[in-house]
Amino acid sequence: MAAHQKALTRPVAALAALLAVLAAAPHRQAAPAPARGVARIISLVPAVTEMIYEIGAGPRVVAVSSYDTYPPEVKRLPNVGALLDPNVERILSLKPDLVVVYGSQTDLKQQLARAGVGVFDYRHAGLEGVTATIRALGARTGDAARAEDLAARIDRGIDAIRRKVHDRPKPRTLLVFGRERMALRGIYASGGTGFMDDMLTAAGGANVFAEVKMEAVQASTEQILAKRPDVIVETRATNSAFAVGERDAELNVWKVLGAIPAVRSNRVYFLFDDRIVIPGPRVVEGTEALARTLHPDVFR
């Protein structure tokens, strides 16, 4: 028994030593001298891609995710997968020194760390998260000054909208971001947390699901009837706009719930606008689009 164990020990020890060397190797090349900036950036998060371009680091972006469409120049860049299917091999072959990943991509983060590639870890948060991310990003890419300018500009823009609408009555608003076509089924609405709720509040609306502390609420017809929204805003990505002629049919779908003030007073709106659904540097414009919809009299 003991001899058997001893016979096993040597190869195991050798293997362990080899593994230790292999594991240590990338760490040694890692930790590059803390550069003031990064030269090759890959972003897997569209919202952060927009921030990178806006703080002037755009020319250093070498690849983006398959969901990226803005700014238009990203369409010419190689695409390295996205949230669920990042292509690690392609990412590494592009020799990035900073990769923007989403917080839930734990495997990818480990692989990048092992390869000694810098990671910028991002998660969607509220509107404050947008400016906080911009500042952190600027510090990381060496564009802190422009990032600070951008963050301050966003803060000012949001504040300006808040001031414009602050003395207006706040319409009770249902903010829908997903629904089955041609039916009131599978309705997803913004709950009382997250950037959409923050934008709605800044735009002078009162979220009917404010008390539900979730980003997404599946709204039943009963809840929608009981909440009696004054305004219903359906928002989606720009590229999912309904075909001409289907818009009226989709609006008609709401007629079933005729007792809702929003339906009775024809205040159901479709806003197909990336600036509302992507928490990037265009949130000011997105918030303004919402505010124009909720308070048309204030914005003429």
Binding site: D85, R181, M182, L184, T221, A243, V256, L257
Partner: protein
């Protein structure tokens, strides 16, 4: 005790349960409504929120639950009788996965039937179920004069796996929000918010139930084995064909209304058999009525327990059904 009397007792008993559930369920909900206002027809319906909550949100939803529950439970009975396998469910032979593939395609590629004013998802689901039925049926008949239940089972299980793989393949092209909606569809949802999906499924459901009524005696004979059934004068191939097609259509119709809500088609038939015995002339009507009551009850829990948020009804049936299924497996006969 004569059969007629036992039949009357069974139908009255389970019928009373189903009717009571369907009448009571719309009275309870996640929000408080004023019933005097809801039934005050002097207030225009367009202005009456209470009436709309009752007649637009709760009532169609309750009826959808009853309809889907009854269809799943009855087709569960028929599939178990046809395959002579107590663990068969309405989803065993690929019908629901075919329906799911149809629905997932409609959701992911944003299909629209806007020009005729209806949602594409239930239509695509029903068409998907028909495609699955056609493929499995063709396979099971290809090498036999009759319908081989062994081939039927193998073909069904294979198609289930294949359609599941296709769903994952389609998911690969979906945006994140669509993936979420797809996943939610797969958990079942009875909030139909209009009577149209029910009316659309009515012809199929009626045909299925007429065939089920005829099937009760053939299924009793089949339970003795195909050879004994044949020797007692049953046209086995015809009965098997009728059972497969009617139960598949019923499942397709139910899935197109409420999505693939699991476990109803297995718990209910077994519970009912424990109560009324194995005679399909009693099991079929009892399972239909009990299934209706059960799903309406599960949906009531789903829509109230976490209000104002709601739980997918498929989670409730699974939480109740999973342990029951295990108990069924280990129970001494």
């Amino acid at each position: 005790m004569t059969l007629a009397w036992r039949f009357a007792r069974t139908v009255l008993g389970f019928g009373a349960l189903a009717v009571a559930t369907v009448l009571l369920a719309p009275l309870v909900g996640a929000t408080a409504i004023d019933f005097r206002r809801a039934f005050d027809f002097s207030i225009p319906f367009a202005d009456n929120v209470d009436a709309q909550i009752f007649f637009v949100a709760r009532l169609p939803r309750t009826l959808a639950g009853a309809c889907v529950g009854g269809l799943f439970a009855a087709s569960g009975v028929v599939f178990q009788g046809l395959l002579r396998n107590p663990l068969a469910t309405p989803f065993t032979l690929g019908v629901s996965t075919g329906a799911a593939l149809g629905a997932v395609l409609a959701i992911t590629f944003n299909w629209s039937l806007g020009f005729i004013g209806i949602s594409a998802v239930p239509v695509a689901a029903f068409v998907g179920s028909l495609v699955a039925v056609a493929i499995v049926y063709a396979l099971a008949q290809a090498r036999h004069r009759g319908l081989s239940t062994t081939v039927l089972l193998l073909a069904g299980v294979t198609m289930n796996a294949f359609f599941s793989a296709m769903i994952l393949f389609v998911q690969y092209f979906a945006s994140f929000a669509d993936t979420y909606r797809t996943l939610r569809w797969l958990m079942g949802d009875l909030d139909v918010s209009s009577y149209e999906p029910l009316l659309a499924a009515l012809p199929t459901a009626t045909v299925a139930f007429v065939v089920f009524a005829w099937l009760a005696r053939p299924l009793n004979l089949l339970s003795l084995g195909p050879d004994s059934a044949e020797s007692r004068g049953l046209d086995v191939a015809r009965a098997q064909r009728a059972a497969f097609l009617s139960a598949s259509l019923a499942t397709g119709a139910a899935v197109s209304i409420g999505g693939p809500i699991g476990f109803v088609g297995i718990i209910i038939p077994h519970l009912v058999r424990l109560m009324v015995g194995p005679d399909h002339r009693l099991v079929l009507p009892a399972a239909t009525l009990f299934g209706a009551a059960f799903l309406v009850g599960c949906d009531l829990i789903a829509r109230t327990i976490l209000a104002p948020v709601e739980l997918p009804v498929g989670i409730i049936t699974a939480l109740l059904g999973g342990p029951f299924f295990l108990w069924l497996l280990i129970r001494k006969p």
